[in-house]
Structure formats: C-alpha cells, structure tokens
Amino acid sequence: MNAITESVETRVKRRQLQQTPLWKRILKRPEVGALGGVILVFAFFYVMAPPFRQLSALSTVLYQASILGIPAVAVALLMIGGEFDLSAGVAVVSSSLAASMFATEVTGNLWTGILLALVLSLAIGALNGYLLVRTKLHSFLVTLSTFLMLQGLNIAITKLVTGNVATEDISGMVGFDLGQRIFASNFHLFGTTVSIAIVYWLIFAVIATWVLLRTRMGNWIFAVGGQGDSARAVGIPVKRVKIGLFMVVGFSCWFTGMHMLFAYDTVQSGAGIGNELLYIASAVVGGCLLTGGYGSAAGSALGAFIFGMTTEGVIYADWDPDWFMFFVGAMLLLATVFNGWLRIRALSRSK
C-alpha cells in the first residue's frame, strides 16, 4: 500500500513538470476560432477601408457589438445549458416599453418603470423556463411561442396605453438624468466618444466567463447542457438551473432594454424582431454548440464583435449599399468557416 502511494506521488509530480504549455491550452479553448475570426475580419477591413483605421471607428464598431453582445453573452450561457431563447430580441423591446409606459402613464417617475421592467423581464425568463420544464417541449418551440406572443403584446399593449404604436419621449422626466448616466452615457477616451454600453458588455463577458469556468454554477451549466440525465443523477437541480438561465437572459434583455430606452428616448413597439437570431449567431460563432454542453461566454462576445465589424466595415469600405446584406452574410460565413477550421486544427494539434 505504501509503495503504491509513493509511486502515485512521484507520477503526479512528474506529470506536473510536463504540464501542457499555456499556448496549447489556449488553443483548446472553444473561443479560439472566434478570436481568429476577429483578427481576420479586423485585418481585412483595416486593409480595405482606410476610415476603419480611426479610433473613433473602433468605438462605433464596439458600440454596435455591445448592443448585440450583452444579450449574446447571456444567450451563450443558456445555449451551453442546452436551451434556446428566440424571445430575447423582442423581450428587449418589451422591457423598454414597460419601463417607458409605466413611468409616463402611471407613476411619472422613471425609476419605478425601470424596476417594473426588471421584474417583468425576469418574469418572462422564468415563464420561458417554467414552460420548458413543465411541458418538456423543446425550448425552440416554447420560446418561439413566447416570441410571437410578446411581439403581439408589445404592439397591442402600447396601442392600448398610449393610443399610438410608439411610446412618448421620456427625456426630461423625473429620473431621466440618472438613468441616462447609468445606462446610456458616453465618455471620452483618447479623444473619442465611447458608449458606456461597451464597458458593461466587457464586464458581463468577464463575469460570465468567470462564472462558467470557476464556479459551481458554471460546472452545473455545462453538465445540464451536456448530459441532463447525468446531471440529475449526481444531484444537480436541473430544472432550477434551466429556469435560472432563462432569467439571466431576461436580465440581459432588461439591461439592453434600459440602454435602448435611455439612449433613444422613445421606443417603437415593433422593434427587436430578428435580433434573437443575431444573439444566437454570436454565441455559435463564439464556439457554442447548438446541442449544448460546450461553448464560451467570451467567445460569444467575440462573435458579436465580428458581427459589429462586418456590418460597420461594409459601410467604412464604401461598398455598394444594395449589396449590403450580401456582404454581411458573406463575411459572416467566411469568419465562421475560418473559425471552425481553426478550432478543428487546434484540437487535433494539441492532442
């Protein structure tokens, strides 16, 4: 027995000496493909579009990326947990509509609206999660239903409350200045205007990455998405984890919704449709598997960055606007293919 323990100790020590080098471990991370895509797309537009080289252009691109990226980070967590959320795009608008209308029509103070919207957004997330675990349907179907219902509710309730299909201008109301400073202010950095949304985006990406890799909850998210039955068998509360993840998406929708409200003062009730796919696309480009159990929050942030660079890059490069969507699609395809190729190479190399 003693002899065995000793040999184990020496083997463990020897193993530690031979530990895999850092760069090899980095190459194995799910977001490495997206990082490669970022470099590729950035280099491409840096060469092709001189205006893209300005610092202020980077700020614009990052802003575009952050508005997609904040929900995309949460959606990445959800996808790693094995579920979809198609309602996220309109849920952002639901949140800003609720905040705006509750404040303008009922209380007169924006902060009550902000809180109501938070409760509502978390409730939408919880409802998605509850319906999922209750009906045992695929989350694609469940959230497709809530997506359609929210889309209808956004317009119907806005019309009921305001008589119009857009909300009133909230600038100048009680609580607007503080709200704007928190959710939608700009600051100057190296002579460029930078939106605070970019800062939040980076913070959320870092927190989500930390949670995924360094907390018990992160472990559980991977397990729940990777093999739900196994997770249940080792005592992980699978249903609660899933409902919690939907509520995290709800929170991110609220946050984005508040930014949109305070940045643009009014809300069109028909907005937000289609963005849910961009969130999912960002997460997938960032390394998340559509089947769950694998992925990265940081990668999802990089995915949103790729999308931001592509859409803005086409404008900076001054390409024919009629071809706009084609260029965006082609660049995304290129980035995604490159991303997949790099990931496969990285995995096979470091084996």
């Binding site: 184990v8 463990v12 907390t215 397990a223 997770a231 080792v234």
Partner: protein
C-alpha cells in the same frame, strides 16, 4: 487489511409487487465488506428491481432490508447514498464534454471563498482527482481532457472511482462490462477486484456474463422470473455450473431436449 465477514447490507425475503404482478419474491442477500456479490439473470429476471430497492429508487413491500443491522425503508436514493450505498448505472452519470476532473467532482464540487466570490477550488480538485485516477491504475494523459474522449472502460473506472471517493461502502455496478470489449472489460474487472479487496468495499456486480462474474465474484446469485434460482458462495460453484444456471438452467435443458429430440445434451453445450 479488512475483515471479510462484516455484513453491511442484509436483505431477508424481500419482495416487490406492482398490483397483481410480483416483480420480485423472497430474495435474501447479504453484502459484506470486501466481498463481490454477483447477481446474474436474464432480461426481466428482476435484477433491476432488486438493485433499485437496494439503491433506494423504489421501496420493497415484503421482507426486511437492513443496513448495519438497522431495518430501512428508503424513499429516495439520497438516503441510501448517505449510508454509503452508491449505484453506478450504465449511463455512468458522466458528462462527455466535461473534463475528467470536473466530472469527478460534479455535484460535489469543493469550493473556497465566501459570498459572491465563492468559487471552485480548482487546484485541490485537480490534484485529488489525479491521485484517485492514478490509484485506479488507468493512464489518462491529461485531466483537462473531456471524459467523452476516454475509452469505455476508462469511463467506467472514473465513474466507479468517483463513487468510491465519495464514501461508497457498498457499490452497485449495473452491467459495467456489458458494452465493452475484452481489454476494456479486463480494466474494469481488475478495478472491481481492487476496490473490494484493497479498500474493503462491498460490491454488488450485476451482469449477464458468467465469465466476468466468475473472475471476480465471491458469492453468486442467479435470478429468474423474480425468484432466486441459485444462491451460493464461490467455493461451492464451478464456472460450468454458473453458466448452466445463467443460460436458463433446467428450463433451457428441457427446451433443448424438445428442439433436438433424442440428442443427448450437457450443461456445457447448452451455454
């Protein structure tokens, strides 16, 4: 190192019925420290009902089930687990895309820090998992590697080692070798023997492969249609006997006799 005669689990005349259908009748079984008890039987023989009762998934309705001498009626697997009775099912409760050490600690993570900064103690978990894996004698080059990339036998061993590490005194192994080839089965069987002899764990080994059972078993029980067909220690049994019983025993003998009228048959051929 261990005394081989302390009973941990004792079942006396245990039975379970669903309405009029009785799934299990009159089963008596003793699991002792450091002993491997093999339970064999055809599909539908009552093996899974039996291990479900032992693991606390379902409750028996006849006879007594005692752990350390105290009669028990489990209502959840958690209660069985708390007494050190741990089951490793064929699905293994592993997550293929997660790394070996994360799987090892899944659901029982070690954490440090407090409040919102409570986080995984990655270093401790990695080192402990590494030590346990080394102790089992399987060679996993990188603990960060996903469990899904391990061989079937290695995965079994990781799952068993995990149960042992988290305080199993009785291990219920549900057909651990069923889906494995010869080499991989050998790996698992070697580990079963080690776990029992060196760590003094009582093992309940469910299988329908009499060869595998005979290699590691100390005690054998063959179930057939919910009843005990054979219950005997290793000393009183040859592999041929076991194979004969496993293959259907007297019933099969009669069947063969019927199919090949007049041809003489032996137990050995029947298997």
């Amino acid at each position: 190192m261990t005394s081989t005669n302390t009973p941990i689990i004792q079942l006396s005349n245990v039975g379970k019925s669903y309405g009029n259908i009785s799934a299990l009748r009159d089963v008596s079984l003793t699991v002792r420290q450091g002993e491997v008890t093999c339970i064999l039987g055809d599909n539908g023989a009552g093996k899974s009902t039996l291990i479900s009762i032992i693991a606390g998934l379902i409750s028996h309705d006849q006879g007594t089930y005692a752990v350390d001498g105290a009669p028990m009626h489990f209502t959840s697997p958690r209660q069985a687990l708390d007494l050190g009775i741990s089951a490793v099912y064929q699905t293994l409760a592993l997550v293929p895309l997660l790394s070996v050490w994360r799987n090892f600690y899944l659901g029982s993570e070690i954490r440090k820090g407090s409040g919102i900064f409570k986080r995984l103690d990655v270093k401790t978990m990695q080192q402990t998992a590494e030590r346990e894996v080394e102790r089992m004698g399987i060679n996993i080059p990188d603990l960060e590697q996903p469990v899904g990339t391990l061989s079937g036998g290695q995965r079994q061993v990781v799952a068993i080692a995990r149960a042992v590490h988290f305080g199993a005194r009785v291990l219920i192994l549900d057909e651990p070798t069923a889906a494995l080839g010869v080499t991989q089965s050998g790996l698992v069987l070697r580990y079963i023997a080690t776990a029992a002899r060196e760590q003094g764990i009582g093992v309940i080994f469910i299988t329908h492969n009499p060869h595998h059972a005979y290699m590691v078993g100390d005690h054998f029980m063959v179930l057939s249609r919910g009843e005990v067909e054979l219950d005997t220690p290793r000393a009183d049994l040859s592999l041929e006997d076991l194979m004969f019983h496993m293959a259907g025993g007297a019933g099969l003998n009669a069947l063969q006799h019927e199919l090949h009228r007049g041809e003489p048959t032996t137990a050995g051929q029947a298997a």
